[in-house]
């Protein structure tokens, strides 16, 4: 359990973390979201006692970080930067950490095996790829078999298989009763792993809610219908007591009714349909709306040469990663 009380950090003029108060609870994955520069990494450094808070307080199971006896047994952290000496081998990197917390030497080989780095254990980490470095960081976090795990953008640099692996790892760690706190920019990623959600923007707390609640409040599902006979369709819908919203491109957005029901209805009235598709407004979109005012670093996009027909879900700014959408749409099918 990590508890923050009015945690504040100022770097000169810059208020990086602004009186954050929330708790990270055991037995679940807590996603920590915010746009670039929101203060996620700073908050995590404050939790680990690396940065000194300007005001406020963080407690780990009721204690300050520096009062923990064998901190690696309490918290394992994967920091944003690849915090290691490139001239030291992976094995020795973990060994020196283990020794400072009297963790048995055998555990080093164990965690190297766990993250799949045993083959390069004796190699200097200088030549490691981004993903290998990330795995080594995760190995270091798991070294003390800690009750709390903290990952700053763990999927950064991992290949799809690695991403899948870390997702399952986090869920498994949480299922074992541990506290898992993970930061990300991607709502779609969090939707797959997190049970609880903490959103910050410009250092301020914007949301502290369960994932299910966030989804319930923010995801709007509807069916898109396109037809060359709009008049007839509107009459048919009206007759059935269904309200339709006309979208910008002339199609209808209908919520509260299944696609099957609409298809049946159209068939009854002999109306030709060109599109009949269930839609899910993305969580990414909801997240962007939530943090819109707090985004500091906007990407400037060149406007497209001619207006493109609207997408099923509004396209976000380029800075938010283009490929979430596919995943976002397929999410309900993908499950967990």
């Amino acid at each position: 359990m990590i508890e923050l009380h009015g945690l504040t950090k100022r770097f000169g003029e810059k208020l990086a973390v602004d009186s954050l108060t929330f708790s990270v609870r055991p037995g679940m994955v807590t996603g920590f979201l915010g746009p670039n520069g929101a203060g996620k990494s700073t908050t995590m450094r404050l939790m680990l006692g690396l940065d000194r808070p300007t005001a406020g307080d963080v407690r780990i199971d009721g204690k300050h970080y520096q009062d923990l006896d064998e901190p690696l047994r309490y918290i394992g952290a994967l920091l944003e930067a690849q915090a290691r000496h490139p001239g030291r081998s992976a094995y020795n990197h973990l060994l020196c950490l283990a020794q400072s917390n009297r963790i048995p030497r055998a555990r080093v080989a164990e965690v190297l095996d766990l993250v799949g780095l045993q083959a390069v254990a004796k190699k200097r980490t200088k030549g490691f790829s981004l993903g290998m470095g990330q795995r080594l960081g995760i190995a270091a976090a798991l070294l003390g078999d800690p009750t709390i795990l903290m990952f700053d953008e763990p999927v950064n640099g991992l290949d799809p298989e690695g991403i899948h692996w870390i997702r399952n790892l986090m869920k498994r760690l949480a299922a074992e009763g541990r506290t898992v706190f993970v930061s990300s920019h991607l709502m779609s990623e969090m939707a797959l792993t997190a049970d609880h959600l903490v959103v910050i923007g410009k250092g301020k707390l914007l949301a502290d809610t369960t994932m299910a609640e966030f989804i319930r409040q923010n995801s709007r599902s509807f069916v898109r219908v396109r037809t060359p006979q709009p008049e007839q369709l509107r009459d048919a819908l009206h007759g059935a007591g269904i309200t339709a919203v006309t979208a910008a491109d002339g199609s209808y957005e209908i919520s509260g009714v299944t696609a099957a029901r609409l298809g049946d209805l159209a068939a009854q009235h002999r109306i030709v349909l060109h599109e009949l598709s269930p839609q899910q407004a993305s969580l990414e979109e909801a997240f962007m709306q939530l943090t819109a005012e707090t985004v500091e670093y906007h990407a400037h996009e060149t406007p497209p040469p001619e207006p493109v027909a609207a997408e099923p879900v509004a396209e976000p700014a380029g800075a938010w990663g283009e490929n979430w959408q596919q995943r976002g749409r397929g999410r309900s099918g993908e499950g967990g």
């Binding site: 037995g27 680990l48 047994r73 918290i75 490139p86 020794q99 400072s100 917390n101």
Partner: protein, 274 residues
Amino acid sequence: MTTPYQATPYQAYASPIPVQSTGLGHALRSEWTKIRTVRSTMWTLGVMLVLVIGIGLLVASLVSSHTPTGTPVLAFGFFGVLLGSLPVITLGVLVISSEYSTGMIRTTLTACPSRSRVLAAKAIVFALIAFVLSTLACLIVAGADAGMITGSGIPSPSGSQWLRATVGAGLYVALLGLLALAVGAMLRHSAGAITAMLGVVLLPLLLALFMATQSLATVRTKLIEYSVPNAIATLYGIPMLSTGPQGWTPLWILAGVTAVALAGALFVINKRDV
């Protein structure tokens, strides 16, 4: 929506390994592993051994073929030690500054949140290694000097001369390295800290060389008296001037300066963000 949103019922995780408190001993082991597993340690200490022993033996063999006058026999180790102190200084800086430049310091302090303990462990491990190796090198050179430079009218070195030329020189080099470690901790920047230390070692004497005018004579004298090369020369019984610190005094002066620098390093390292 399927499974991922269901919160697991809370049931705290308990590691099978019991938590016990850790101390300086564990930090020392950790720092020992760190220092022996990077190449810069082997390089700098290797260069130090080559310089001290190589130059020491070279000078001894050159001098032994002539008949020296007046100079204490062991004093010929001076040149090697003066040059050999430079790689030790480099290592002293790197022991701490490389952690800052690579970001390792964050991992280190996450594993051991007591910053004082980390700094103490680093200082102890480094100083011990530097002291043992440089004393050993000085001992080899002193032995060669005493063995090779013999003859009528050349007094054999006294016990205190032996002690100063071996343990004394070794301590002096280790202290210079410790001072470098403290400076590295304060500046956090390898090149900056090494340059600063080179300045400390070489600048006073160089400045003194350029102070030819009469009005600066006292400043010049003080600069020479308290310069690092003169301090090492004094330990070898060949001070550049007849005034100034004598005998073991230069060593105590450096010890004082190093203690102050380490205290400063402790203060800033505890105060700063990393």
